[in-house]
């Protein structure tokens, strides 16, 4: 059977699709996000301190993860929640409407009930 241009096109499309699929499911990739009332923004995992709310909230970021380092909110729940390092970890500062979330391609669970 002769190969037509269409065959080659289809085969290339299939190879591209498989590659795309394989890259897409290569699990374990972690992404750190900072969420506020308006947006969800990815934060690069490297050493940095992020100052928010006119310096009333400070987030410490490392290559491993991030945490709320300082906050002038009354109960300091966000600070007590500690490091956001593993898939699904979250730290939420409700009074400031801020959250840190570590999302992964593959994780043990889809949500946390707390």
């Amino acid at each position: 059977m002769k190969r037509s241009k269409l065959d080659i096109l289809i085969i290339s499309a299939l190879i591209a699709a498989s590659l795309f699929y394989m890259l897409n499911v290569s699990g374990g990739e972690k992404r750190l996000y900072l969420i506020d009332t308006k947006k969800k923004e990815e934060i690069k995992l490297k050493d940095a301190n992020i100052s928010l709310d006119n310096g009333h909230v400070i987030i410490q970021v490392t290559a491993e993860g991030a945490r709320f380092l300082e906050s002038d909110c009354p109960n300091k729940v966000c600070i007590k929640q500690g490091w956001v390092k593993n898939c699904g970890d979250t730290a939420v500062c409700v009074p400031k409407h801020l959250a840190l979330v570590m999302e992964c391609k593959e994780q043990d669970y889809d949500a946390i009930s707390q």
Partner: protein, 302 residues
């Protein structure tokens, strides 16, 4: 030239290849005093806007009616909110009045929800308890289960658009619609003593789970006691049985309301009630015991 059949087959193969990993879109936002996340299949992402506006409009409705009622007890809430208030009586029955939609009459004396926190003296508490039992000078607060109802309504919006799989999670009170392509939705129950750990993972399909805890909203009294936001409407004090109570139920409203109601009664009472209601329960007692009741373990990850 390959036949038309072969071409179609190839196209189908490509579709199948992409289709076998359904990707999901999650949007997170602040509502109802917590972070809410809505997860739907990527291809249905448009519905998120509708579900989100459903949540914000119902939240506003409950808030408005609650505030108006608290200013004027003769105020008639809109029918949906009036029905919601009425459904609170089932939790009052289950707990012999320890649960009350008027528990805010007590909790506000302590400074909840926003602070400044303080410990009221016994005479203030006695007046509040008296008011609750007579239904006068009370503060209405549907916080114990309105969030669950609103999650259910958001799920209804998603279902009515023909979407078969989704999750709406309002700070741990959540509903899992359908299942993901390869498995059920998995929900981890947070360890009250270590926020980075969990005490159970459950698989849910068309089911809700909600958790009440003594650890999220609390303050330290001058005598060193931790005081949290759930109060017994017959004593004016915190119940002292559990660190956390999780309930699986067919609706988020029921899971949400029961997790608070069960917090107020002892483990043997919970065992009797959950058997009757057929709602699985996970109790984490103040002594550190984990009790799985009424079929909880059947939902746990295998």
């Amino acid at each position: 030239m390959p036949s038309l059949f072969a071409k179609i087959l190839c196209c189908l193969l490509i579709v199948a290849l992409f289709g076998c990993k359904e990707s999901y879109k999650t949007e997170q936002f602040y509502a109802m005093g917590t972070f809410v996340s809505i997860t739907v299949p990527e291809k249905n992402a448009d519905i998120i806007v509708n579900a989100r506006s459903k949540i914000t409009s119902l939240e506003a409705a409950v808030k408005e009616d609650t505030e108006k009622f608290n200013r004027n007890p003769r105020y008639k809430p809109r029918p949906a909110v009036a029905e919601l208030i009425e459904r609170g009586s089932s939790y009052e029955l289950i707990t012999d009045g320890r649960f009350s939609v008027y528990a805010a009459t007590i909790s506000k004396l302590y400074g909840f929800p926003e602070g400044a926190y303080r410990v009221p003296d016994q005479s203030e508490l006695d007046t509040a308890l008296d008011n609750i039992s007579r239904g006068t000078n009370v503060s209405l607060d549907l916080g114990a289960y309105a969030k669950g109802w609103i999650v259910d309504e958001a799920i209804r919006t998603i279902k009515e658009a023909g979407i078969k799989t989704a999750m709406v999670n309002a700070g741990g009170d959540l509903y899992a619609l359908g299942k993901r392509p390869d498995r059920d939705w998995r929900v981890a129950i947070q360890d009250p003593k270590n926020s980075r750990d969990y005490i159970s993972i459950v698989n849910l399909e068309n089911m809700a789970v909600a958790t009440s805890g003594d650890y999220e909203r609390a303050f330290k009294a001058p005598d060193g006691r931790m005081i949290f936001h759930i109060f017994d409407a017959t004593t004016g004090q915190n119940p002292e049985y559990y660190h956390s109570v999780s309930v699986i139920a067919p609706t988020t409203e029921e899971a949400d309301g029961l997790s608070t109601a069960f917090f107020l009664i002892n483990p043997s009472e919970v065992r009797a009630k959950c058997a009757k209601l057929k709602t699985p329960v996970l109790l984490y007692t103040v002594n550190g015991n984990l009790m799985k009741l009424c079929g909880w373990e059947k939902f746990e990850k295998k």
